[in-house]
Amino acid sequence: MTENNNNDHNEAGADADERVVGTPTDNTDVVSESSAHSESEHNGPYLASETHKHSEEKQRRGEKLASVWFIIAFIGGIGFLVSYFLFPPNAAGEPAIADPQIGQYSNMLLGGTLTLAMFGIGAGMTVWARNVMPHYEVGSPYDDLPSKEEEKSSFSEFFMKSADESGFTKRPLMRRTLILAMLPLGLAPVVLLRDTGPLPGDLMKKTRWTDGMRMYVEGTHRYLRAEDLEADPYGMISALPALDDEGYPHGISLTDQAKSVILLIKMPEDDWKAGMDEPVREDSDETHLNWTHQGIVAYSKICTHVGCPAALYERTTHRILCPCHQSTFDAADAAKVVFGPAHRPLPQLPIGVDDEGYLVARGDFNEPTGPTFWEYAKD
């Protein structure tokens, strides 16, 4: 910064021993006592007699108060780091915060301590400005860039003067506690990088659906049969794969639910549009229509835009509307986008029936489900 022309000649000089990190050099001209109080020298809305330097006693009180805030901020910052590590994964490597109660505690602690750290620094700085720094008006009109040499030096002069007047150089307790308070906050983002974890591999492109897997009506544990939809010429229902994973109250983790939930839609077969005769993938012989069963089609319920559940289905128009950003898909036309920010159709799940008449998947989706990501189309 502009300190250069002030301190480049004495970096290794005798003064260097007494310099404290983050402060200006000692031999800079200190102007704090000089001109601030002369009536003629400033033209702000207040008379010079109304501006003032705080009494030494007030400054000392301000310094102490600010230091208290900075120490609180430091404790908050340390607390943030502590609360990040407070809930380690269990022996099986599952995060403890997967439990909603623990997750809530963790969120409260992380948010609370970070609030404390930032608020402490802000409050301490406000106290500093109000009780330690002198108050007067400074006019600084804008000029052409770049600044002239003398302007630069006058700025650095002013900067150093302000640094000195603000008490930053003279108040080591406050200065050191401020630097102390900033330290953990600077470290925090680096620590959080730990969460990026290993690469996902093909996890984002596959769901738990497999050939022959039956499906539940979401919320129940009843397998759905094709004939259950016989009385609905225009039916719709949310369904989940009939998994039974140990340890989850509904047999399937929330992550798997979010990826594999489908919307089963039934419509009269002459409502299908031309898009249903197109292949499900560029390299596939099967068409979207081959992947339906007796007018029942299964689409991913997760919008391909940013992953909201797109399930406002209008049976009259066969539109599926996503409530978040109004992406609209045509269920009769292979879920092509007819409106909104989504840029690819809802993935389709191939369905059929097993020999007992239950609806089953005949494989995984034709495309990755969920919000579109950069590599979604690559293998």
Binding site: E50, G235, M236, L312, E314
Partner: protein, 316 residues
């Protein structure tokens, strides 16, 4: 004005302005927000009608007068070919396969007869009497409905509460009301799996009707109506018949027991006591809460900014 001029430079003037603005927002919102205490359209609780009480000829007269102009005398609806040769509804759709549940739903919620076939009908008081509706449904079942297609009226699900005007004396009304309330409570409390009811509602209904049942917007100006005023039977009938753009949820897809859980969840949710206060926000949901959060939060931040940047004078 002198009073204001004298005090607007007061150190506390900024806070006063912020507090006034907050109060204005709060009171203004409370005043403008719609009230939910609109009177419910209540009619006689309908049992399975006794054949002796039914006048099919009257039902035909009502159908020919109020329905046939759009739905045709045989209930086949009115259609025309569009440019691509597809049949599109011009006035009213074909009624022959919709089932009596659809008829009961549309007429008892006042949506039919409709004044304008091109626009979505709101909920209204029923246009014909309860007896006329019974006759109309009997005529529909006998003459118009094809092979008993579509869903029947779920008579075992409680419908509208009895209304005093339909009774000759106070005692018989009170007796009917007590009987109705007994049936209603038995139906609502007969559900025992709140979690299932909630999941069924949230995954299949809440997208359009909102998590609180307040309804919401669809495409092309259509909307999903709020369901606070709906009786259990109307909710049931809407599910099996799919009125308007709503898809159908037959008893195969969601069984009657599961429907009972779902309806019980919806009615229990709506019966939750309201905490009250001007910020109860009519329980419209997170968006309104976010709005208040922003208003209050931003005001506090502005107050902080005023404090931080307030000019100090010598006499401070």
């Amino acid at each position: 004005m002198k009073w204001i001029t004298a005090r607007r430079r007061h150190p506390l003037a900024g806070y006063v302005v912020v507090i006034l603005a907050l109060a204005l927002f709060g009171v203004g919102f409370a005043a403008l927000a719609p009230t939910s205490d609109e009177a419910r359209a209540q009619t006689l609780s309908a049992e399975v009608p006794d054949p002796e009480d039914v006048d099919v000829a009257n039902g035909k007269a009502i159908f020919d007068q109020t329905c046939a102009s759009c739905h045709n005398y045989d209930g086949s609806g009115m259609y025309a070919e569009d440019d691509e040769g597809d049949l599109v509804v011009t006035n009213g759709p074909d009624l022959r396969e919709v089932g009596s549940a659809a008829l009961d739903f549309q007429v008892s919620t006042g949506r039919m007869p409709s004044m304008d076939p091109d626009s979505q009908m709101p909920r209204k008081p029923m246009a014909i009497s309860e007896q006329d509706l019974v006759d109309l449904i009997a005529y529909y079942d006998e003459e118009i409905r094809t092979d008993g297609r579509g869903a029947d009226i779920p008579f075992d699900v409680p419908g509208d509460a009895p209304q005093a005007a339909d009774f000759e004396d106070e005692a018989s009304y009170e007796a009917a009301l007590e009987e109705y309330e007994g049936e209603y409570d038995a139906y609502i409390e007969g559900a025992d799996d709140v979690d299932m009811g909630m999941k069924l509602y949230l995954t299949n209904c809440a997208h359009c009707h909102s998590w609180s049942g307040g309804g919401g917007a669809l495409t092309d100006g259509r909307w999903a109506p709020e369901i606070h005023d709906s009786t259990p039977r109307e909710i049931y009938e809407a599910m099996v018949s799919g009125p308007g753009a709503m898809p159908m949820f037959s008893d195969g897809v969601i069984t009657p027991e599961e429907k009972q859980e779902l309806i019980s969840y919806v009615k229990t949710l709506q019966a939750e006591p309201n905490a009250g206060g001007i910020f109860d926000l009519e329980r419209v949901g997170q968006v309104a809460e976010g709005f208040i959060g922003w208003t209050v939060g931003l005001s506090l931040i502005i107050a902080c900014a005023i404090w931080i940047t307030a000019k100090q004078r010598a006499h401070d």
